[in-house]
Amino acid sequence: MPTFFNSWLPFIYLYVGGGIFFLAGMILIRRTKAIDMRLKRHRLWWKILILGYFSFAAFHAVLIIAALYW
């Protein structure tokens, strides 16, 4: 059975460590007004970006659970 270091730690590294970069990017594009939330298509992409982050995280979490317990 793989240990925590080989299963969940890489997940935490990717989605917490990488999440900091992602969050920094999201804050920057809002602050610099690169994304204009008055525009419908920009609002859509904002939602897609957030949804994408959680979708990837969920996908990888399911793969880890499958590897460990299924």
């Binding site: 059975m1 793989p2 240990t3 270091f5 080989n6 299963s7 730690l9 890489p10 997940f11 590294y13 990717l14 990488g18 999440g19 970069f21 992602f22 990017g25 999201m26 920057l28 594009i29 690169a34 994304i35 992409w45 970006l49 994408g52 982050y53 990837f56 990888h60 793969l63 880890i64 499958a66 590897a67 460990l68 299924w70």
Partner: protein
């Protein structure tokens, strides 16, 4: 290392030759659409997004995907196929930072951007860096393609009484020549349309190989249970010590 040769049938060779000739003719056909540099580099900016997206996918998926990922997957498990999984974190920067600069400044290449932003010497330096990168990138594509085709080939063939030996470098040269010709004449339009065909083929073949492989080992249940848990994990372990890897 043992070299496997001659496992292909005559039908395989005929399909390969027809494919090469068809791609050459099909790609070169688009030469008539190239009237200026905008046509050559951008296909006249006339293509819809999904065609361009398919071209990008076909560029990313190539012979090296099948050879490299199969080898790494066999050696280390699923984690070796997750190379680009951290890309999402840079997508906000890319979509709303970098991409608008590229699109609205109408530049034709990355080095051109560096010239506009910095200086002609920056452009020169970036061109050298890109060439160095592409030599490796294109080179590994050709090498893996040659390694995938070579086992199908006989040691030699005879044409008009002349015996020609088939070597890895020979295959690479022939493919480079075919691709070089249709890209030179057909430009980006040829790349997009040949990519469309090849992209569909590569994705279809990739999915088909996966299912055939799973069926070959006895179905999904057998396949999944054959794998050690560490091979099923999507990420490589952060601490790689012998006693931690089962």
């Amino acid at each position: 290392m043992e070299h496997i040769r001659d496992i292909g049938s005559q039908l395989d060779w005929i399909v390969l030759i027809i494919y090469m000739v068809a791609m050459l003719l099909f790609g070169s056909y688009f030469a008539k659409y190239n009237k200026d540099t905008s046509d050559f580099f951008f296909g006249g900016r006339r293509f819809t997004w999904w065609l361009i997206a398919m071209s990008i996918v076909a560029t990313g998926v190539s012979s090296h995907s099948f050879v490299k990922y199969s080898a790494m997957g066999f050696k280390y498990g699923f984690s070796s196929s997750m190379s680009y999984m951290n890309d999402w974190f840079f997508v906000p920067f890319f979509m709303f930072g970098w991409l608008p600069i590229i699109v609205y400044s109408k530049i034709r290449s990355i080095p051109e951007y560096f010239e506009k932003r910095f200086s002609p010497s920056a452009r020169f330096f970036v061109t050298i860096l890109q060439l160095l990168y592409l030599v490796g990138y294109v080179g590994i594509g050709f090498l893996t393609m040659g390694k995938a085709i070579l086992p199908l080939m006989p040691e030699y063939f005879t044409i008009f009484g002349v015996q020609i030996h088939i070597t890895l470098m020979g295959l690479i040269w022939v493919t480079a020549l075919v691709v070089g010709i249709y890209i030179t004449f057909g430009g980006q339009t040829a790349v997009i349309f040949t990519d469309l065909i090849q992209g569909v083929m590569l994705l279809f073949a990739g999915i088909l190989i996966f299912f055939l492989g799973v069926a070959y080992v006895g179905g999904w249940h057998t396949f999944w249970n054959l794998l050690p848990a560490s091979w099923k994990l999507p990420f490589a372990g952060l601490i790689h010590r012998r006693n931690l890897i089962p």
